[in-house]
Amino acid sequence: MSYVLNKYLDRVMVYANCKENKVSDIRTELEDHLHKKIEDLQKEGFTKEDAIYKAIDDHGHPRTVGYGLRPKNTWLDVRSHGTARGFIAVGPKAVGVVAMGGQAYGIFAFGGFSVGLISFGGFALSLLFAWGGFAATMLGVAYGGFALAPIAVGGFAAGIISTGGVAYGLYVPGGGQVHSLYTLETLPSFLKWIWSYSESFIMDFTDVNQYISANKILVFVFLFLLFPMLYLQKKEMNRIQKQDPYLAE
């Protein structure tokens, strides 16, 4: 078989990353397709070399074909390009229960831009808990340089209850420059209820309290998950590099 054709199929299989018992069948099938195409192109008048290149070109980028052939809905999907999808997904874009990447969408999402139930990242949007440069949460707590949430804690914090360098809120228990509508004594009952539940989060952030809080636990979980995921990403790059250094460049 032609070297170019062989290399192309090698690359498809690198990205497909299938179980060994499937590799041979898939490769044989693609090989048959390409050979038949080359034969037909030669009948049309193409030289063998031109026919090989056209057949490969028409077949598609090895990454597109290879990723398409990857098993779907796996426990773990790690990709160097494109969108990873799995229970645990790691890639430039990641969608999963636990997702990590430049853009991450999941229950636990870690990334430059992360959206999830619990999100960590440069720009973190979440339903319950967000932690990051810009952190916004719909129902829970946001910690960050710029925090927007019912309970917001950060350099600039805005929320129902907020604290931070510059804090705006219905109730602001502390901070540098505070803009608070109520004091503790004048708090309406529903805010008192929120405050009683949020106090530990806020106290923890301002380093007044030393017991384990949800914040500490969640940050620990984040760090605990971050390192294995970085390891998985590195392992995937090593695997690709080992099989074809050109693909890792």
């Binding site: 048959d32 397709h33 050979h35 038949k36 077949h59 598609g60 597109t64 052939l69 779907k72």
Partner: protein
């Protein structure tokens, strides 16, 4: 040219239509697909295989290996009863949808004519 998202949801149906005419293999399926689509589909030939494999996992199609004339091993696909049922359901859905769309948007033009002709 169709948008990718529009296409993605329908490739399985296109393949079921082709395979419903009889067992076929990857390359021939792609040729039939391109012939039927008259240049409206823009997808790499290799991207048909992930769809075929997915359909096989869903048991819409089944496959067997045979020897080709050239002596190479070749994988032939055929529609399963489950696939045929799905195709019938898709055809019914399409009949209803196309009738409804025609009522609102008018009949489909088969030839595009220049507006100022």
């Amino acid at each position: 040219m169709l948008k990718k998202q529009t296409l993605d949801g329908n490739v399985e149906t296109f393949l079921l239509v082709i395979l419903n005419q009889g067992p076929s293999y990857g390359y021939a399926i792609v040729q039939d697909l391109n012939e039927k689509a008259q240049g409206l589909l823009n997808m790499g030939e290799g991207t048909v295989y992930p769809v075929l494999h997915r359909m096989e996992e869903k048991k819409l199609i089944a496959s067997t290996w045979r020897q080709s004339d050239s002596g190479r091993k070749r994988k032939y696909y055929r529609v399963t009863p489950k696939g045929r049922k799905m195709l019938e359901s898709k055809e019914q859905q399409w009949q209803t949808l196309s009738k409804t769309m025609e009522l609102f948007l008018g009949p489909v033009e088969t030839n595009h004519k220049p507006q100022n002709a």
